[in-house]
């Protein structure tokens, strides 16, 4: 079974989903990310879904779960690159991905993570 690679760039973990994932691949990604956040002490997770033409309820739930898990481990998650057709379909399906932060592209996503990092520092 293929596993989606997770790259590390400083305090941020980067995931680019480019394949039509089987359900178990998505679950494995969830596990791997949780693991890696804890082990690396990363404060940010960026998931790039620019290449995903389909986001169904399973992948949607995975994104929500990753976001929640990351938050508990003190990391912020941002999902970037959602395609218009995907956004329209998710809304029609009734999935609003509550609690998942999104940004238009990688650049904006990194900005978002940087800001949230600053905010949490100030909070301390």
């Amino acid at each position: 079974m293929e596993r989606i690679p997770i790259l590390r760039m400083g305090k941020t973990l980067l995931v680019t989903i480019q394949v039509d994932m089987q359900d178990q691949t998505a679950l494995a990604l969830q596990d791997d990310l949780a693991d890696k956040i804890a082990k690396s002490g990363a404060t940010g997770v960026m998931i790039d879904i620019t290449a995903l033409e389909i986001v169904d309820s399973f992948v949607g739930r995975m994104l929500t779960s990753i976001s929640s898990i990351a938050r508990i481990l003190s990391a912020t998650t941002v999902v970037v690159g959602m395609q218009p057709a995907v956004a329209i379909t998710l809304i029609e399906l009734g999935l609003s991905l509550e609690g998942v932060r999104t940004a238009l592209n990688v650049e904006r996503g990194m900005e978002l993570l940087r800001k949230s990092r600053q905010e949490s520092h100030l909070g301390n």
Binding site: V79, V80, M82, Q83, P84, A85, A87, I88, L90, I91, E92, S96, L97, R101, T102, A103, L104, N105, R108, G109
Partner: protein
């Protein structure tokens, strides 16, 4: 195979060219140019009819697989005439004119078997009627599709997505908002947001006369999709009456920023995107 169908099949086989000729005469295609234009369609239809019947097609079961080829030709015939602006009457007339040559052909084929002639003529009549009905239904559908496409093109022209500022897009909605229209605007706007990497979209509804629950639902869906993608949205141009309607209908705007005028929305957009506007004196 029933004897009537066998007779029709024989007629189509043996008399093919004279059937086509008589058919074209019936259509009043006297001068060679007009004839040339229509001849290929006529020949193809006769050929497909022959093949369908030879394969055992039942004229009472027009939806069956055996008639697929014939159906396709009729439909494309209909659509092309619809696109050319001809009438449904012209189109069905084309098909109905096939009766006379087939009648003539059957009389020749069944000269020695008059008992089968009546039932065969009846079968031909009902069969050709069904073919003609099919062209009319397709014609109407094709006309509707053309009108719909023209409406969509008009909509795109009347609802332009404008770049107001760096990272700020605006869509002035004018006229009645229906589900079809809102859908097209939504798709265009979302794509433009991605293409221009804009963080903010202002949807201005100054030109929208009324907002009911359905329209509000569509607007909310559009805003939700924009936020889901990671951008934000301001709805502007909300006239007092519309504000009242929204409250009255109990529509929950779910924390969407709203402004009375496009100017106010632009000011808010500057604020949200970190721009400060100062006078030069």
């Amino acid at each position: 195979m029933k004897s009537e169908l066998q007779a029709i099949l024989s007629t189509l086989r043996d008399d093919e060219s004279s059937i086509v000729d008589t058919w074209l005469d019936e259509l009043g295609a006297a001068e060679p140019g007009a004839r040339r234009a229509v001849q290929p369609e006529a020949e193809e239809l006769v050929k497909l009819l022959r093949e369908a019947l030879a394969a055992g097609a039942d004229p009472d079961a027009m939806e069956s697989q055996a008639w697929a080829g014939t159906r396709h030709v009729l439909e494309s015939l209909s659509r092309s005439r619809a696109a050319r602006g001809q009438t449904a009457g012209d189109t069905s007339q084309f098909v109905l004119a096939l009766k006379k040559p087939l009648f003539n052909g059957l009389q020749r084929t069944l000269a020695s078997d008059p008992g089968t002639l009546m039932p065969s003529l009846w079968t031909v009549t009902t069969m050709v009627d069904k073919l003609a009905q099919r062209t009319v239904a397709t014609f109407q559908q094709a006309r509707e599709d053309i009108i719909k496409r023209q409406q969509e093109e008009l909509l795109e022209l009347s609802t332009p997505v404008i770049k107001l500022w760096h990272g700020v897009l605006a869509v002035p909605m004018i006229g009645i908002l229906d589900s079809n229209r809102t859908q097209i605007v939504m798709e265009t706007l979302l794509q433009k947001i991605v293409d221009t990497e804009s963080e903010l979209a202002i949807i201005d509804i100054t030109g929208v006369p009324t907002v009911d629950t359905l329209v509000a639902q569509h607007l909310l869906k559009t805003v939700s999709a924009i936020r889901l993608m990671g951008a934000d949205c301001i709805i502007s141009g909300i006239r007092p009456q519309i504000a009242q309607t929204i409250v009255h209908l109990g529509i929950d705007l779910q924390g969407i920023s709203t402004k009375a005028t496009l100017a106010d929305a632009l000011a808010l957009a500057f604020e949200k995107t970190g721009w400060r506007v100062a006078r030069s004196d």
